[in-house]
């Protein structure tokens, strides 16, 4: 018996890799893309093939989110690999990277295998785990990079915490060269951020809250880039949030260093003013910054300094957020707002659809050497069908995520996922 075939016709094909941006059709066969192009099925689809009429909407590679907290193991009351997966699919994400700051910390091969097994059981989104860079995220002893990578870890990070010790960071970057692995850094000098709970500045001063200065991020990025210069290695700044840090990365790239970075949608769509009257749903690390920084993130995305858009999806239950600002948990859920917030850059005239999609698909896939993120014959049939224009209001009550901690509740946005396909199977369909 032959593999199941599905024809997606009347589609606006978008592929950042080939630059394809045209009307056409795509054929999947089993788990793979069998064919695609403007001329495909010009004379109609053979009867044996299931047909999906895309109605002229956009068909692109499924989104790749390289920064997601799934909370399992350890905090399954906030999110699980299964529920986080459903949230991802509803947002158009077909591949995601789980962060290792769970309980226990993902710092050994057995736990990488646990995550992979739970993801297989969920039969949903593809999960590519990051492993901890140091044992227990303690910033002291390196994890077994080689064996963890062999088991399936795609990159290494102590995310949630920075690798503060310069010697440890130097050795991590240096040792990772053995296997050409990426070290992702939560860049923050904790001695400068102290007990701050929002960005330092007028808003924090008026609210009487301790501020986190921009230099807490800049200094760490500057230091790390010096270490890369000295010891080599592939260095990635997670959730970059300041104008100066973006500029550091820009200069490092110009010098030919292997330095990359990602930005989260909230850092190009909100500012510290959105904290308003102690809205703990707008508390995250790094914090929402000033308008100047927000604009710099947009500029960094436009000129390619910022390689990828990633959510830093961080689910929290109500109890972790219904606290005075200083004690509320850091983080917001992001998977189900990733696409429309990214499309604000398109509707605002900053970037083309292909440029945005590159940062949501191909770029993170290439950084992590994942076999996804392209519309290409023989590539996995991980696809997203989306309406780029439809207006709607974000309603956190409808989120598939177990947690609803989003500052975007009620925000008018444009564009949403209509159908999400993983390995040729439709796993999400928008039904109004």
């Amino acid at each position: 018996m032959t593999e199941k075939r599905t024809a997606y016709i009347n589609a606006h094909l978008l592929d950042p890799d080939s630059g394809l941006d045209a009307g056409g059709a795509l054929l999947t066969e089993g788990v793979l893309i069998a064919d695609l192009g403007p001329g495909l099925f010009a004379d109609g689809v053979p009867e044996a093939i299931e047909t999906v009429d895309c109605g002229g909407h956009c068909l692109c590679p499924g989104l790749v989110d390289m920064h997601v907290h799934l909370r399992e193991p350890g905090h399954e009351h906030k999110e699980t690999i299964a529920t986080g997966g459903l949230s991802a699919l509803a947002g158009g994400v077909t591949s995601l990277c789980s962060m290792p700051n769970t309980d226990p910390v993902i710092d050994n091969v057995g736990l990488i295998e646990f995550i992979q097994r739970r993801a297989r059981e969920a039969k949903g989104v593809k999960v590519f785990p990051f492993a901890a860079a140091t044992k227990g995220l303690e910033g002291k002893q390196l994890t077994e990079f080689g064996m963890l990578a062999e088991a399936g870890a795609v990159a290494f990070t102590d995310d949630g915490l920075p690798i503060a010790d310069s010697q440890v960071m130097r050795r991590a970057l240096s040792y990772a060269k053995t296997f050409d692995l990426l070290i992702s850094q939560h860049a923050e000098d904790l001695s400068l951020s102290g007990c701050g709970c929002m960005a330092e500045g007028e808003a924090a001063t008026r609210l009487g809250l301790d501020g986190i200065p921009e230099i807490a991020e800049t200094i760490m990025v500057e230091r790390d880039i010096r270490l890369v210069e000295h010891s080599g290695g592939r260095y990635h700044v997670a959730h970059i949030s300041t104008a100066e840090a973006v500029d550091c990365v820009r200069r490092a790239k110009a010098r030919g260093l292997r330095v990359t970075c990602e930005a989260a949608p909230h850092h190009f769509s909100l500012t510290d003013l959105d904290v308003g009257d102690y809205r703990t749903f707008a508390k995250m690390a790094p914090p929402l910054r000033s308008e100047r920084n927000r604009v710099a993130i947009v500029e960094g995305l436009k000129d390619g300094t910022i390689d990828a858009i990633a959510t830093d999806h961080a689910p929290h239950d109500q109890e972790s957020k219904r606290l005075p600002m200083a004690h509320a948990a850091n983080g917001i859920v992001g998977l189900e707002t990733l696409l429309p917030l990214s499309l604000e850059l398109y509707h605002g005239g900053h970037m083309t659809l292909l440029e945005i999609l590159r940062r949501l698909t191909l770029a993170p896939a290439e950084l992590l050497k994942l076999p996804v993120g392209r519309l290409q014959k023989g590539a996995p049939a991980d696809l997203l069908l989306f309406d780029a224009d439809v207006p709607w209001l974000v309603d956190t009550a409808k989120f598939r995520s177990m947690s609803k901690n989003s500052p975007f509740d009620g925000r008018p946005v444009q564009g949403r996922a209509l159908r999400t396909i993983v390995d040729g199977r439709t796993l999400f369909t928008f039904d109004g």
Binding site: C195, A204, T205, G208, L209, Y278, L323, M325, A326, H327
Partner: protein, 317 residues
């Protein structure tokens, strides 16, 4: 003498901060406070405007003068006053806060006065109760009744609240008193100067309309009012000043620095004072210059006025 009954000059349920008050409501509160100043100087100090009403004082931070002032204010107005001091355990603080709020709310109090070490905590509590809430200090955010009593003190001495030059000196960074006073005094038309070393000045504070000085001698020039702030050791994380000795030398108020201000400059301090740290005893105790004890007296009247305004028609009944 009975204070005359007035409509709620605040037109709001809670008093969470100076932010949100209009100049007219500030004046109305101060006018009503004046009647209580007079009443408090009578032999018969009791009134019954809040008879049958319940006032809860909920303090998550230790306090002597503010708590006593509110308690006495409530009792003089005839309210039943309950005192709750909550020992703060590090992490469960907020959960305790909302749970406590809802529990107390179920008992139908009319006014809850709250002090809490975290900025924004009093608003969070206010969101979970039906009665009036008065902020008696939340972290480094606001302390509105302190700013109002300071305003009353200034008005009684200078006859006005506009056109004055006021220096607020010391630990502005950690001071809710400073923030509330900057808001109130600039709103009423006075000029506020902040005098402190850079490590004790919060970023962008000049955006609130104040001018910053790091040289106390320059900062005090031509000032009508000198407000000293306590060096808040308990809110300091790390080293803000090298020593209290050095701090006093450059930022403590003594007779030499006082001489730079206007000859009739009034000295104020929200208390409790650290003598020899931010203020010299000879200056603090100079009854011709210092209004520090008068602030305490007027504070009681201001709190009576606020309780009167918010407690009479509270939704808790």
């Amino acid at each position: 003498m009975q204070p005359v009954s007035r409509p709620n000059a605040l037109a709001q349920r809670d008093l969470l901060g100076i932010e949100g008050l209009s100049p007219d409501s500030v004046s109305a509160i101060l006018d009503l406070s004046e009647t209580y100043v007079a009443l408090n100087r009578d032999a018969e100090k009791k009134s019954d405007v809040l008879r049958g009403r319940t006032l809860i004082l909920l303090f998550f931070e230790t306090s002597t003068r503010t708590r006593t002032s509110f308690e006495l204010a409530g009792k003089r107005l005839g309210a039943d006053v309950i005192n709750i001091s909550v020992a703060t355990s590090a992490i469960k603080k907020g959960e305790t806060l909302i749970d406590t709020a809802m529990t107390l709310n179920a008992m139908h109090p009319d006014v809850i006065v709250v002090r809490h070490p975290d900025a924004g905590a009093v608003r969070l509590l206010a969101d979970h109760v039906n009665c009036a809430v008065i902020n008696a200090g939340d972290g480094s955010h606001e302390h509105p009744t302190q700013a109002l009593l300071d305003a009353l003190t200034i008005r009684r001495h200078k006859g006005r609240l506009d056109g004055l030059r006021v220096a607020i000196c010391g630990d502005v960074m950690h001071s809710r008193v400073a923030r509330s006073n900057i808001l109130l005094l600039t709103m009423m038309g006075s000029q506020v100067r902040l005098v402190a070393p850079p490590t004790l000045v919060p970023p962008a504070i000049e955006r609130m309309g104040a001018e910053v000085f790091h040289d106390m001698r320059r900062g005090l020039e031509d000032c009508d009012i000198i407000m000293m702030l306590r060096l808040q050791a308990e809110r300091m994380q790390g080293t803000f000043v090298p020593s209290t000795r050095e701090y006093f030398r450059y930022f403590g108020l003594d007779e030499a620095k006082l001489a730079i201000a206007r000859p009739d400059a009034l000295i104020m301090h929200p208390g409790p004072m650290n003598r020899g740290v931010e203020i010299d005893s000879r200056v603090a105790d100079d009854i011709t210059r210092s209004a520090i004890l008068e602030q305490v007296e007027l504070g009681l009247a201001v709190r009576q006025a606020c309780l009167d305004l918010l407690g009479r028609d509270s939704g808790g009944a």
